[in-house]
């Protein structure tokens, strides 16, 4: 549980630092193109779903492997 908490904190903090890089007005190219139509959000949502789906799969595998490890340790 502690490892999970630590990982989550790490992810949130690195995201926060990424947000501070994107100062408004500094990246005219991004503001003028990608962000304006709002349709880039669809791409962001799709990529987020794929990452979330693959992460879920990783967690399920992780659980299976851990159960297997415990079984082997019992012997």
């Amino acid at each position: 549980m502690r490892t999970i908490n630590r990982t989550l904190t790490l992810i949130i903090l690195s995201l926060a630092s990424a947000a501070t890089f994107a100062q408004p007005g500094q990246e005219n190219w991004l503001v003028d193109t990608m962000y304006k139509s709002g349709k880039i959000n669809t791409v962001v949502a799709v990529v987020a779903v794929l990452i979330a789906g693959l992460a879920t799969w990783m967690f399920m595998m992780d659980r299976k492997v851990r159960r297997m490890e415990k079984e082997l340790d019992k012997r």
């Binding site: 190219w29 003028d32 193109t33 304006k36 139509s37 349709k39 791409v43």
Partner: protein
């Protein structure tokens, strides 16, 4: 390490997909005009662009109707993406739909097809030729399609899900046939692993497609034959897992599910690739719609799309192998415990 190179390749291809596929800008396009219907008389038109440079040199604008052109009487650029264009629209244009074309020294020719419904049709107009302009060889950009706009990038994420699912199900069929020929439970286990991993990609394909549909077709789900076919394909394979769960005897389960898997694969191909082509569909390449590979999928999209497909397929095979290796260890372990 031996056998690691293609996993590294999968990682590099997906990194390439994420970076180039998300960072490459779209080409210039007209996204909005202040009116969508034109009638004879003076017209003051607001034009909004996307990635355009209207305030660049040599600004030109004209209407095109049945290859007859009406040139702008005046053009005022307000910003790179906003300009006012003035026309004297004549009576007697021949076709119902009129295109709008603009040109400038930076963007080259930018066209908005069927921009206006046209009133007071007739037998043609007296043309006053005006200076046109050619499309320029622009820097590396993706095509900026109407309605799709930025969401065209989903091509690298949504579409490969289905290719990966079909690849994994094909591995499942191959393993199923081997299971029937050799009566080996190892082959049966491999087939089940392939189908289980393929379903992960099928479900991700359905969810990502639904999100994309919400923005382009303004609904989460349509009765589009490709959508319903994809859902049916995924459900057929979910039934495969149910079938496996309901037969307790391993040898019998292996035979039954192998035979089912072969039929399921044939039906999935039918639902994914045959039936949508026989009906009208919103997807490219089906019914009356042109395929992505005729003119929609240009070479710049291809240069990311093909690596993306290969990357996702290799990742799928990697996941299938991990799953199968774990299942093998589990089986070995429980067999050892039973003895």
């Amino acid at each position: 390490m031996k056998g690691l190179w293609w996993k590294l390749l999968a990682t590099l291809l997906l990194l390439y997909t994420a970076i180039i596929g998300l960072r490459t800008p779209l080409g210039p396009a007209i996204v909005q005009t202040s009116v969508s219907r034109i009638a004879p008389g003076p017209l003051e038109l607001d034009v909004w662009g996307y990635g355009t440079h209207f305030n660049s040199d040599q600004p030109r604008a004209w209407l095109v109707n049945d290859s007859q052109r009406v040139c702008a009487s005046n053009i005022t650029a307000i910003a790179g993406d906003h300009m006012k264009v003035f026309f004297d629209v004549p009576a007697g244009l021949r076709k119902q739909m009129t295109d709008l074309q603009v040109f400038n020294g930076t963007d080259g020719l930018v066209t908005r097809y069927a921009a206006f419904y046209t009133d007071s049709l007739g037998g043609g107009i007296a043309e006053h030729p005006c200076v046109g302009g050619k499309s320029l060889e622009l820097a590396y950009t993706f095509p900026n399609r109407d309605i799709l706009n930025e969401s065209i990038r989903n091509l690298f994420f949504h579409v490969p899900m289905w290719f990966t699912m079909v690849t994994l199900m094909a591995i499942g069929v191959w393993k199923s046939i081997r299971a029937l020929r050799t009566n080996s439970l190892d082959e049966d286990r491999a087939a089940a692993s392939a189908v289980g991993t393929g379903l992960v990609f099928g479900v991700l394909g359905l969810i990502s497609g639904s999100l994309w549909a919400r923005v382009t077709w303004e609904t989460w789900w349509t009765t589009d034959p490709k959508l319903n076919g994809a859902a049916a394909g995924v459900l057929i394979y979910l039934a495969y897992l149910v079938l496996r769960g309901s037969v307790p005897e391993p040898a019998k389960r292996a035979r039954l599910s192998a035979i089912y898997s072969i039929f399921a694969f044939a039906f999935m191909l039918l639902f994914f690739f045959v039936l949508p082509r026989l009906n009208d569909s919103l997807h490219p390449g089906n019914g009356g719609n042109p395929a992505f590979n005729t003119y929609d999928l240009d070479n710049r999209l291809r240069s990311v799309f093909y690596p993306a497909c290969l990357g996702w397929i290799l990742l799928g095979i990697w996941m299938y192998q991990l799953r199968d290796r774990l299942a093998r260890v589990q089986t070995r372990h429980s067999d050892a415990n039973d003895q």
